[in-house]
Amino acid sequence: MSDPAPILWLIPALPLAAAIACGLAAFAYADFKRYSHWPCVVGIAAAFLFALVALVIVFRRDGAAAVLTYFPWFQAGNVDVGLSLRADGLTAVMLVMITFISTLIAIFSIGYMHGDPGYPRFFAEFSLFVFFMTGLVLANNFIVLYACWEGVGLCSYLLIGFWFARPSAAAAARKAFLVTRLGDIGLFLGILVLWAYHPERSLEFHQIFRPAVIQHYASEGVLLPACLLIFVGCVGKSAQFPLHVWLPDAMEGPTPVSALIHAATMVTAGVYLVARCMPLFGQEELALLVVASIGCFTALLAASIAVTQTDLKRVLAYSTVSQLGYMFLALGCGVRSERLAVFAVTAAIFHLFTHAFFKALLFLAAGSVMHAMGDVIDMRRFGGLRKVLPTTHWTFLCGAGALSGFPLLSGFWSKDDILAANYAASHGTGGGAYMLLFVVAMTTAGITAFYTARAYFMTFHGPQRLPPEAHGHAHESPPVMTWPLMILAGGALLVGIVLGPTGLFERFLERYWMKGGFPASISPEHAGGHFSFVVMLLSTVLALAGIGLAYWMYVKAPGMAPLLAYRIKGLYQASRSKFYFDEIYGATVVGPANAAAHVLRVFDQYILDGLVDLIGSLPSAVGYVLRPAQNGLVQFYALLMVLGLSGFVVAVLLR
């Protein structure tokens, strides 16, 4: 059999074709529009099959990345950008995860979006997103990656603002686009730095991640700025601390979108990019420390906001921010030794992988709750739903268990790897900062368990309450929605235990990605060995304590929560209002920008427009003066001609 690598282009191409087909269906007859999910589901499912083929390709190549340049995209001066794709272990893992989750969420959306007037548009934008996302992870050079990076941002904008007639959705879409755009500027500058200092002016990954080139960057002193600039892009896309404000608002979009884009895939693009650039980051310990600190701080911040939110989707959104923080923390822990770097990066990607399953599951379950509750998502307005929505309840429980790090579920294994990597990083010289991060991460693990359990108990336990919007016939969702839930629940339960403790995931990434992708050679033996029983025990205890506390506060003694909130009123209010980040940004950035816009608008309207209007009014003023001459009398015209002629003659004579 010949090498099947050239078919890689089909993986993004199929969703793109599906997007076009769905987009055309929007112009079809109404009867036909009901079937517009077919291209999307079929296209993405086929992309999933080809992603499996990509996995096979990676296996057959045994560690050597498949790099394919299909055609030169553009050439200008020193810039020579080819449309090149790459398949290695990391790409294959991301592809399989993205296409698998997308397929399930597309199927879920058939039920969730049923009857929406924008049904074809939804699936068109959904497929377009999958196109860009698969392109992003397949890209082998920074320009293709950047193009797809912006593409997913565009799809995120379109899908957050899917119900664009709602002002809040339009505002959230705008906010998401602008905030991530801030980060994208950093990413682009980082790419430019890498390009400008590259000895051969190349933007291809395999040209940049060569040891000699990295040494060159380091000797030029641009390695740290480049890493930090790229990380700025990742901070924007993955909603980390200074730029995290857009992700919770992004919940204005349809819930499947929240599940796919704002939990499972797009927001992990930042983690992917830092992992991809690990050869660069790994050489710069300060960059790693920045990554780890930002990640850890975000994890704690988002978790402490999630504790008091009452909107189920917002709790999940903040938990996403928090878990992404964990992933960055892990990425930043690969200091000092190659083995630790491998372990830390693997832990981050492993958490990314398991997180995609259980977070997509949680969001879809929340969507199922919304579907049954008539679009009510405020946890104070419903409760005790476990009898009404049995399947949703069980699947949500699986996801919540995995998120809170309940022993043996998938989140447990991956989070434990992260904590172990962090713990390992805190030994040795300069480990003090990492020890601090470790303490914070541990605390966050406990808080995570608490707020996850709180959301679960508030939604599914206690006395049964249904909002009036449910119209008294709240019922379990149709099978097209529950089946994806059950499959994802299986993933949330089993992915961790199958891939984690067996070391499958780690060995796969190490052998098929890092061996070829990392500059220094990695010892052939198992790179793990940072597994720590103490850390595992401690995190388990914290998770169980968090769950227990939530059980006590929200089921056993329901009066406790308001009482506690009253006792620590200041802290509660601060957390409830998201530590006033929106207000601070509103006062420092948005307000002045608005004021400047207002001033410029006045300038434009009165001064520039006035000038143009003045020039425009000149001909009509002249016309007003000359108009009486046109009085319709031929003799008068003749007289004017004579006078004009005599004037002319006099002028000539007197000259």
């Binding site: 108009r627 319709g632 009398l633």
Partner: protein, 143 residues
């Protein structure tokens, strides 16, 4: 005897031109206006011939021939136009075409309008000549 000086011809041309100009500005009958315009053209033609003779070449005379040809065409077209305008308003007074002024301009009142045209003469209606044809009286009065 020497030929008359150039000035004499030019004076004749100027007089002709001035007459035509004054006529064009003061009269309102469209045909008269046209004749006045012709007069001005011919004044120019006189000048041209005078200059031709003065300079001793034929350039001015050739130009005059052109002017005459053009004036003939002009006459044909202008008279047709006058006829068409007359058919619209049943008058040759050019001031009735004031309505072609700019839309927001006030019309100029004619202080000395032309006397109204005499009504067309009414000719007596004569029966067809010849003897009355033969017909049966009974059949015609069957109403």
């Amino acid at each position: 005897m020497s030929p008359p000086a150039l000035e004499n011809y030019l004076i004749v041309g100027a007089i002709l031109f001035a007459l035509g100009l004054v006529g064009f500005i003061t009269r309102r009958n469209m045909i008269i206006l046209f004749l006045c315009a012709e007069m001005m053209v011919l004044a120019v033609a006189v000048n041209l011939t005078a200059f031709a003779r003065y300079h001793g070449n034929l350039g001015g005379q050739v130009l005059t021939l052109f002017i005459l040809t053009v004036a003939a065409c002009e006459a044909a077209i202008a008279l047709v136009l006058v006829l068409m305008l007359y058919r619209k308003k049943h008058t040759l007074d050019v001031s009735v075409w004031q309505e072609l002024r700019e839309p927001d301009q006030e019309p100029i009142e004619d202080e000395e309008p032309l006397p109204p045209e005499p009504p067309p003469p009414t000719w007596p209606h004569l029966p067809p000549s010849g003897p009355e044809p033969e017909h049966e009286l009974e059949e015609t009065s069957h109403v």
